[in-house]
Amino acid sequence: MTGVGLKTVEEIKAAIEGAVPGASVKVMPNASPSGQHSLLLDTEHAIQVAEFLRDDKDLALDFLSNVTGVDWLDKEIAEKVKVTRQVSKPVEGGEPGQVQMVEETVEETRKHVQPGFLEVVYHLFSMAKKHGPVVLRMRTENRTDRVELPSLTPVWRSAEFQEREVFDLFGVVFQGHPDLRRILMWDAFKDHPMRRDYVDPDDFEYEPTAHDEVLKRAQQHNEKQGLAT
């Protein structure tokens, strides 16, 4: 964490956990040269934590500069696990057909799906202390039906439009937001265009200089229409 006079993320984490009982804060390290490590908040205590960060004398994070979203898809993870199991084997030197059970250790590849989630990132600065940024994150439970997160608009007013944008483009529902409507797309619009599985409208009927991805989409469009490419 850079910034004059600003505590490290570990110190901020300790300060939060000291001030807000029950709050669990996880430090998300950032390995890049910028070293902007972030703090993952639990959704239950997020509002209290935000109020603490804003009102604390040393931190005084009075300015919310940016709110954005990240879409994390379901991830398939393959693990190699050692498993012991019973295998029937013919008995050596025994009568034909005679078997015995033998324990054998084998390596098995197990796959499991790590469910995806939506993440919201907040960048905080202090105008009074001239330090920052402190990066906060919050995660939804999944990408489909449990997409609620507490709104931080009651704490920082500047979150209002940016949370509306995250709602519009990612589909995160901010509870406690004073006016949660779409801000860029029209109200009847159903999709969330910044989600990674968003499929944009198939309007590739006229592509005079198509190449790469556009060429592929134009060909698919023409095939669907029964036209020669």
Partner: protein
Amino acid sequence: MAVDENLKIELGKQGVFVTTIQELYNWGRRSSVWPMQFGLACCAIEMIATTMARYDLARFGAEVFRPSPRQADMMIISGTVTKKMAPQVVRLYNQMAEPRYVIAMGACAISGGPFKQGYNVLKGIDRYIPVDVHIPGCPPRPEALLQAFITLQKKIDAQPLTGEGRPRHLDANAPGEFPVPEQGEHDLEPAANKNVWTVPTIIQ
């Protein structure tokens, strides 16, 4: 044209002025094409520059930008037409009185431009309303807009008052209103007005 061009010049030298109703009528129309005061994006800045003293669109009789579509003769689509804005553009065009003309200014207005593959930008306003002059450029320079305006004036000048190719206000059967697209759940509906725009044939 009823009057021979050379004869007209000869007569002019003798102090005799000969004209036709059509010529007089079109001269009047093309010399006071009032644009609508309406800008969509960065091309609008170039449009504003065109009207100012350095480029001076007033030389061509188009200096009076009207804040109401009822008083305007020409719409300059100056900039990116988003799918959220497109119904309003078509609605404004519908509210203009005939004869009315459209200049699509810049890459976005004619094709979607750099945002063509985006989910929220219309791939050219000519999908919903008839466009008279297209200007490429990102943004086009004021000279290009002047060129487009002169092209439009030539087009108006060449319009006969009767028969094929006459302006829409003299043709009772010409469509006066263009359907405003609906903002649907995924895209504008319909994606194009089939009476105005058909998929162009690509010749390679």
